[in-house]
Amino acid sequence: MAHVITPLDQPSNYKDSQARVDRKKQNDLLSKSTTLYIGNLSFYTTEEQIYELFSKCASPEDGGGIKRIIMGLDRNSRTPCGFCFVEYYTNAEALACMRYVSGTKLDERIIRCDLDLGYSEGRQFGRGKSGGQVRDEHRQDYDPGRGGWGAQAQRLELERRREVEERYADAQDGPGAVAGGGGDWKEADTSDSRLKRGRSPEDEDENIRGGQRSRLDEDGDGERM
């Protein structure tokens, strides 16, 4: 159904400017993407608010669901800087968000969704000069204290700001800093209690992420042309 109008779930010209794969390969990856870049968030928006809205596009009965949310952080201050990645288990869920959620409000701001190549290490940090997103540095309407309702409320402003500022103070980088969210179902392990490597013994994402790293090289937050 696309002769008369353009569906909203077509990939846009959002791209990861540091991805080192050619356009065709990128399109290929995007057509199977399970990850969304979410932009124009308030700096105060929480992952739980994001979870609530984006779970409306989840299809657990089809093997889907929200795999993880990766909050975009200012590289220097480790505070949210207005973007995040939402990763599902299936491509159909990501497309549903493009159709139904992108362009609607969350925390009283109109958010924007874009299909993304997939999270890879380091991309949770802004890579603008200031530590935030590059795209915000280009924006005319950029408001540094960008808030939804969270920024406007006077009474709790300070407290909330402190809470937000501290929430990700422990954010780490390097391999394994960001949780995978849980992979495919595994058969019960009857061979019993081998002590496995420290972190995330079943995390086959390691391989996927490793694979992606080699393909995409290091990259930071998504940007638009």
């Binding site: 109008i5 124009n40 992952e47 608010q49 979870y51 995330s200």
Partner: protein, 881 residues
């Protein structure tokens, strides 16, 4: 309306910049694309004015074959059904003999129609029902325009009613076929009935006869839960086939005189074609192809089929407004408007913004006077068309009512409910002055029906829509008008709605933000409307005065210091040994579980990612706890310990149900607990904990508990779906390899025989693993469904108190003004049982024999009304009644 760049997608976005606006993609538009676009855009400005130009354009386009014209026409008809009458007019004009030179034979119009038919045939073969139906509408118009012979049209319609008489025809197929025939008749009726009143009667009777067989299915998907009666008539709602039949009869009684006033017939003024040179097209006869049967079926260990076919149910659509405000769908005009708008809603699901625009543009495509004119901003507006008596409806209210009808379809809406919610948001953005009030009136009307029997699933979706809508419009609801309802018991559906709507608003916003939108009466803690404080975690060991504070601090510090999971495990064993020597602690296992799991949740309480990090880092520890301290491997959990983990998490987050849902989901995802554990926990363990059962009592569940059960069942079903896909993919891969090996073998020729013999024997190890996983997961799925059924049986039968009996009798229902906690909760539990049966019917049917044998054994011989209702519901859902 203009689709100014139909293949580039720029048109709309340029005009409505509400988010970033750089999605236009430049692409080359070939002359062929342009040619098609010209035909598809016909009527965007003014069809009658454009007609001569377009006709000439097509006649002159000798460089494009007729097939391109007919393909464009097919796209136009199936994607812009509102323009069908004008395309019929266009085709009628193209049937006129050409001006220049001797008349071609056949005319270009005839050639196009003949080619168009081929496309129709392929829609039919692919079971593309909507496209098929819209083509039939087109054919019906063409029949009235005398381009198609009446007897071939009647034969076509009758090949659809023939489907209704097939043995064992599925409801979905029958419904589609019936509507195809009915709509063809509504449009073509004036001419068809003149020609053959008998065939017209046959078509109507066939639909009627089929509709009479659907009563029990209707009972279980009715929008009102009146468990005590078999009636399938509900106030405020009509079933699709009932609607179709009713409207069709009214058409028929007046010999289809109304057709010309409800459908546009721009071709009606055309002169008849010369009967000496023109013969109307005879539609070739068709057979509606039988349903597709999936061949790659996979069975469980016990041989049950696991292929899930979405069950098809009768469709009840809610009508919220009076017939003066929005049309009654059972009348000819109402049917035409409703089906026209409903088609737009379905077709444009891929772009809700364009969809909203086209919906608001709909009055252009129906006879004048159907809708109230738009309030004009002009100081001297043009005179509005004379309102037509019995019409003159409000457009936005009509649209919202139809969208809500689709949103509230049971057991589930066709698209994700957020589609309908976002679409309403777009409507309100495009037309704030009329869209907003339509939404407000809908809220009030729906709210007024709560407590009058509205199905709880509809109430649940209503609260979800309410919160999403409010989130998009600044949470500006006039709560004070519902203050009088605070005098109702807090278990009344209206109170439950208010609580839930507020809870969902908070999830999307902030506690203090939402609190401020409420009037003081609702802010008061004793009104039980909103929690006093922001919904935070509840860590038992926070207070230094509490017992075991020190132990908890020790563990918490290990987590904070990111100690290795193995080290924490051994540390805990030490702590446990120490606790065992002290006399105060009765159950050290339980205590250690509580301290450890709470501490882990405490560390993970900062954000969803923190939770994931905490769980993932300490998976071996969680498995150790789940296994009662015996193992750190996957799948070694013991029931008792797993139930404990769930209780601890639910208690830790008892003030924040959203977090309970999230934590449970990830505990299942990481296989700390299985879906079966969660189901069992909700029905049994949770119900024993006063802290967690205060709202439900010991033998009922409400929306939140259902939400948890549903998440568990969906997880179990989703895993089977994934495993099934994997097996199918691997088998296909295997087959391909074998086919290639075979081909190679043949090519190599020499020792081909040996090779082809050997190839199949080598079983693919990945496939073996996948099959094993599939077997395990179907067992788990069956167990989860079985536990749910068991749970409902134990809650609902036998009705053990007067209050429980009142919840399912007519006398009890009529006295509901005096109902309190137990009655409303029992009633709600019945609702969720009913919903469980109809929603999971496709899965339940696969396992129905085993499940009912196990769960109903203890009910054998009982004539308790609750037992009978329970079995009836089950039998209807699983197709045994």
């Amino acid at each position: 309306m203009s689709y100014d760049r139909p293949h580039r997608g720029g048109g709309y976005r340029r005009r409505y910049r509400d988010d970033y606006d750089d999605r236009r993609r430049e692409s080359y538009e070939s002359p062929l694309d342009k040619f098609k676009a010209t035909i598809i855009k016909f009527g965007d400005v003014d069809a009658l004015e454009e007609l001569p130009r377009l006709e000439k354009f097509i006649r002159d386009a000798t460089n494009h074959p007729v097939s391109v014209v007919s393909e464009s026409l097919r796209i136009a008809v199936t994607e812009q059904p509102f323009k069908i009458p004008y395309y019929a007019l266009l085709l009628r004009h193209l049937h006129n003999p050409s001006d220049n030179g001797p008349s071609e034979d056949p005319t270009i119009g005839q050639q196009i129609l003949e080619d168009f038919w081929k496309g129709f045939q392929s829609y039919l073969d692919q079971h593309s029902w909507r496209e098929t139906r819209l083509c039939i509408q087109f054919f019906a118009h063409l029949t009235v325009a005398k381009l198609i012979s009446t007897d071939s049209m009647l034969t076509l319609l009758q090949s659809f009613t023939a489907v209704l008489e097939e043995f064992g025809v599925s409801l979905g197929r029958a419904k589609q076929a019936a509507v195809c025939a009915a709509e063809g008749l509504m449009i073509g009726g004036p001419i068809l009935k003149v020609d053959s009143p008998i065939q017209v009667q046959e078509i109507i009777s066939a639909i009627q006869a089929y509709n009479d067989t659907t009563a029990s299915a209707k009972w279980i998907v009715g929008p009102l839960n009146r468990v005590y009666t078999d009636s399938t008539q509900f106030p405020l709602a009509d079933e699709q086939l009932d609607i179709v039949l009713h409207a069709l009869r009214v058409f028929d009684e007046a010999d289809f005189a109304e057709t010309s006033s409800v459908f546009l017939q721009p071709y009606s003024t055309c002169e008849d074609l010369d009967p000496l040179t023109f013969t109307p097209f005879n539609l070739p006869s068709v057979l509606v192809p039988p349903e597709v049967i999936e061949l790659d079926s996979l069975s469980t260990d016990a041989g049950e089929d696991t292929q899930i076919k979405k069950e098809e149910w009768p469709e009840y659509y809610i009508s919220l407004f009076d017939n003066e405000v929005t049309p009654d769908p059972k009348t000819p005009a109402g049917y035409a408007v409703r089906s026209g708008l409903a088609d737009i809603l379905q077709i444009f699901e891929v772009n809700r913004k364009d969809c909203a625009r086209l919906l608001l543009d709909f009055p252009r495509w129906v006879p004048p006077g159907t809708f109230k004119p738009k309030p004009s901003l002009d100081a001297n507006p043009l005179p509005a068309p004379e309102p037509v008596p019995g019409k003159d409806w409000q457009l936005e209210s009509t649209i919202v009512e139809i969208i809500l009808g689709m949103l509230f379809l049971l057991p589930e809406s066709q698209h994700k409910s957020v589609y309908y919610m976002s679409l309403i948001t777009e409507l309100c953005k495009l037309s704030p002055s009329t869209g907003g009030p339509a939404v407000g009136k809908s809220f009030r009307k729906l709210y007024s029906q709560l407590g009058e029997g509205f199905d709880v699933e509809i109430a649940k979706r209503f609260s979800e829509w309410f919160s999403v809508h409010m989130s998009n419009f600044n949470f500006g609801w006039v709560w004070k008008e519902w203050i009088p309802d605070l005098s109702l018991t807090v278990y009344h559906p209206k109170r439950a709605f208010i609580q839930r709507a507020i809870e969902l608003e908070i999830r999307l916003s902030y506690h203090d933000r939402i609190l401020k939108t409420l009037p003081p009466e609702m802010q008061a803690p004793d009104s039980e409307t909103i929690s006093e404080n922001a919904p935070g975690p509840d860590f038992d060991y926070d207070d230094p005065a509490k017992p075991h504070h020190d132990v908890a601090q020790t563990i918490l510090n290990l987590f904070r210091g990111r100690a290795k999971a193995e080290d924490v495990v051994s540390r805990i064993e030490g702590l446990k040994a120490a606790l065992e020597t002290s006399d105060e602690v009765v159950n050290t296992d339980a205590l250690i579980r509580s301290i450890t799991v709470q501490s882990l949740l405490h560390v993970g309480a900062r954000s969803f990612s923190h939770l994931l990090n905490a769980i993932e880092r300490y998976l071996p520890l969680l498995r150790n706890i789940a296994s009662g301290g015996t193992s750190i491997a996957v799948g070694t959990g013991i029931t008792e310990a797993k139930a404990d983990i769930l209780s601890i998490a639910a208690t830790f987050w008892k003030n924040n149900r959203h977090m309970v849902v999230i934590v449970f989901d990830k505990l299942m995802q990481y296989q700390i607990v299985d879906p079966t554990d969660v189901v069992q926990w909700v029905f049994v363990r949770r119900a024993e904990l006063p802290e967690l059962n205060s709202a439900t009592g010991i033998n009922s569940l409400r929306t939140f508990e259902w939400e948890i059960i549903k998440a568990a069942l969906d997880k179990a079903n989703g895993r089977v779906t994934t495993a099934r896909r994997r097996v199918v993919a691997l088998r296909k891969e295997d087959d391909d390899i074998r086919a290639r090996a075979l081909a190679d073998g043949v090519a190599m020729d020499v020792d081909a025989d040996i090779k082809t013999e050997e190839a199949p024997a080598a079983e693919n190890p990945a496939l073996t693993t996948a099959l094993k996983a599939f077997a395990s997961l179907t067992r788990e799925q069956k167990a989860a469904l079985s536990k749910t059924l068991d749970g409902f049986v134990s809650y609902l039968t036998p009705a053990s108190s007067e209050a429980q009996r009142r919840a399912i009798t007519e006398e009890g229902w009529n006295d509901r003004g005096r109902w309190d906690k137990e009655e409303w909760n029992t009633w709600e539990t019945w609702n969720w049982y009913r919903h469980f049966c109809r929603l999971y019917a496709p899965y339940l049917r696969s396992y129905s024999t085993t499940l009912q044998t196990v769960s109903f054994a203890k009910l054998e011989g009982s004539t308790d009304p609750s037992v009978e209702l329970l079995k009836k519901t089950w039998n209807v859902a699983t197709g045994q009644e």
